[in-house]
């Protein structure tokens, strides 16, 4: 009869049994972990680096903020050309051969950067600001080509911009059309904290979706600079790191590791896997490995590894010693 089909009395035949107090073990483990957790919490606390806001970004690095804002208005940022689930672009769409689940899924979190990040918030801020209302009207009634010329000139001007002690950004004189007014108000709005709220507003009162402000932040360089200082970027195994000197998600070491090695971080790639589709490839590899782990009991070779590498001799060393002792005793008794 198979070992999987017998009752426990039969299954454990020949095995020495010992008294066992399950509830005592559970209680001691629970109290022990509580003690460790309380000590670690009292001594080391936990990480809590304050979040970045559009306000803190615009105050700390106003030129980066304006560069990003003007990029959003011109539709030239990463998010503007991202693709699903935000829009119909293709800049961040990943595929492997004919497999492109990102494209297949379509747009489900629609983001229109020029409108959502700049024009709509500014429109909401026009109350009592005739100059802004006029600038918006001029901008929106102008051809797309002219808008792009103004924005290109403004972006060039930002390269020579100066920042005063009070945070005011001065761009050299140029042909910016209404863009200079729009960007000036964007900076004012952001520095006041108003833009943080305006990017969250929607057609209903309650709001818990931070997609728009986070995508706006992601288009800038400020949050990435802070992450670099905290060693949280991908090339620093950032996925499994934590701010400060705290342990992070160490259980993600294998997932993070793939991003550090070819072909996942290679420009040329191998078998269609490269830095261009690294996320899709890494997720695919991890799903495959998880499936293998799940099915270990049924995969010849994989399920035999514990027999080939006898770590079990260490786990059950006392049991095996007892087996050897009994075998030796049996041999001595035999004539």
């Amino acid at each position: 009869m198979k070992a999987s089909q017998v009752d426990k009395k039969t299954y454990y035949r020949g095995i020495a049994m010992m008294p066992y107090d399950l509830l005592k073990e559970v209680t001691f483990a629970t109290l022990g972990i509580l003690a460790v957790v309380l000590v670690l919490s009292a001594v080391l606390s936990s990480p809590d680096v304050p979040s970045v806001t559009l306000q803190s970004w615009s105050k700390a690095n106003p030129v980066d903020f304006l560069t990003t804002a003007s990029g959003e208005l011109s539709g030239s940022t990463i998010v503007a050309g991202y693709g699903p689930p935000y829009n119909s672009g293709s800049g961040s769409v990943q595929s492997w051969g004919p497999l492109s689940p990102q494209s297949w899924a379509g747009v489900h979190v629609p983001i229109n950067p020029p409108n959502d990040f700049v024009l709509q918030p500014l429109t909401q801020a026009t109350a009592g600001d005739a100059e802004l209302a006029s600038a918006l009207s001029t901008y929106q009634s102008t051809s797309g080509d002219q808008q792009q010329k103004w924005l290109a000139n403004y972006t060039t001007g930002l390269g020579s911009a100066t920042v005063a002690a009070d945070g005011t950004v001065t761009v050299p004189a140029g042909d910016y059309g209404p863009v200079s007014v729009l960007m000036d108000r964007m900076l004012t709005l952001a520095r006041s904290g108003g833009l943080d709220a305006l990017l969250l507003t929607s057609d209903h009162f309650y709001q818990t979706d931070f997609s728009r402000p986070l995508l706006f932040l992601d288009d800038g360089g400020y949050i990435a600079d802070l992450a670099t200082q905290q060693k949280l970027i991908g090339s620093d195994w950032g996925v499994m790191n934590e701010t400060g000197r705290y342990p992070g998600s160490a259980w993600l070491w294998l997932y993070t590791m793939w991003y550090q090695i070819p072909p996942f971080n290679s420009d040329t790639g191998f078998l269609g896997i490269s830095a261009a589709n690294t996320d899709l490839a890494v997720v695919g590899v991890m799903l495959l490995l998880t499936a293998l782990l799940f099915l270990v009991p049924f995969i010849p070779g994989l399920r035999d590894i514990p027999r080939w590498i006898p770590i079990h001799k260490l786990i059950w060393r006392r049991h095996y010693a007892e087996m050897r002792r009994q075998a030796a005793a049996g041999a001595q008794k035999s004539p």
Binding site: Y11, I33, A42, F294, I315
Partner: protein, 225 residues
């Protein structure tokens, strides 16, 4: 109140305390019969176990459950006072710290338990389902931890959400599972995923108790004469 015992027979045992009879039918009798067969109280709360479980490896599982217990308790406290509480209260920060370190303990001992069971080939002798449920628990726990990281409402959660979105989007699930949507992540983290992990852990414990601890490798069950 009724009783199956005839008056005057002197049998004080209430009928519900007796094992379900073979001829009893119905859903309840069927479930009771199955439970009594697979998980009698002697197996659920055993007082004797094979001597070979006297190894540190066998503590990793119970310690993982202990960490999960404190993880849930500290999480309930944090959920009760609201997501912003621990940023503005020293008491809240302490409870967040207990949650943080419970997570670390939970994963450390869960991984040790996983490796212990792998090197002991714990899936042998009809225990494959126990192993598979364990792998599912580990996978869902990783997802639960992820949703926890992105609802911290601090720099870490911002950066993790921003980075993770690309991997999630690449799979086509970015619209369904939006790491930038705090409300969605909060709901998943404080309710659905912990319930899922806890229920699966209960199932895992029942599987372990019902089947018993697997025999050591190279010491198979003796074949009946």
């Amino acid at each position: 109140m009724s009783s199956d015992s005839a008056p005057g027979t002197g049998d004080p045992t209430p009928p519900t305390a007796q094992p379900v009879a073979d001829d009893e039918t119905g859903w309840t009798a069927s479930v009771r019969r199955r439970v009594e067969k697979t998980l009698p109280i002697t197996e659920l709360l055993p007082t004797k176990q094979p001597a070979y479980i006297g190894s540190w490896v066998y503590l990793f599982g119970v310690v993982t459950i202990a960490a999960l217990f404190w993880l849930v308790i500290s999480g309930v406290v944090l959920a009760f006072f609201g997501s912003a509480w621990w940023h503005v209260s020293s008491v809240g920060l302490f409870f967040n710290s207990t949650h943080f370190w419970s997570v670390q303990m939970f994963f450390i001992f869960m991984v040790l338990h996983l490796w212990g069971q792998f090197w002991g080939a714990g899936w042998r002798d009809g225990r494959a389902k126990t192993w598979m449920v364990g792998v599912v628990i580990f996978s869902i726990s990783v997802g639960t931890a992820f949703t926890g990281y992105v609802i911290q409402q601090n720099f870490d959660s911002q950066w993790i959400a921003i980075n993770a979105k690309d991997a999630i989007n690449s799979t086509g699930f970015g619209g369904l599972f939006n790491a930038l949507n705090f409300g969605q992540m909060y709901g998943l983290h404080v309710m659905l995923m912990p319930i899922g992990v806890t229920l699966l852990v209960v199932l895992h414990i029942i599987q372990v108790r019902a089947k018993g601890v697997v025999r050591p490798i190279d010491d198979p069950m003796p074949v009946a004469p």
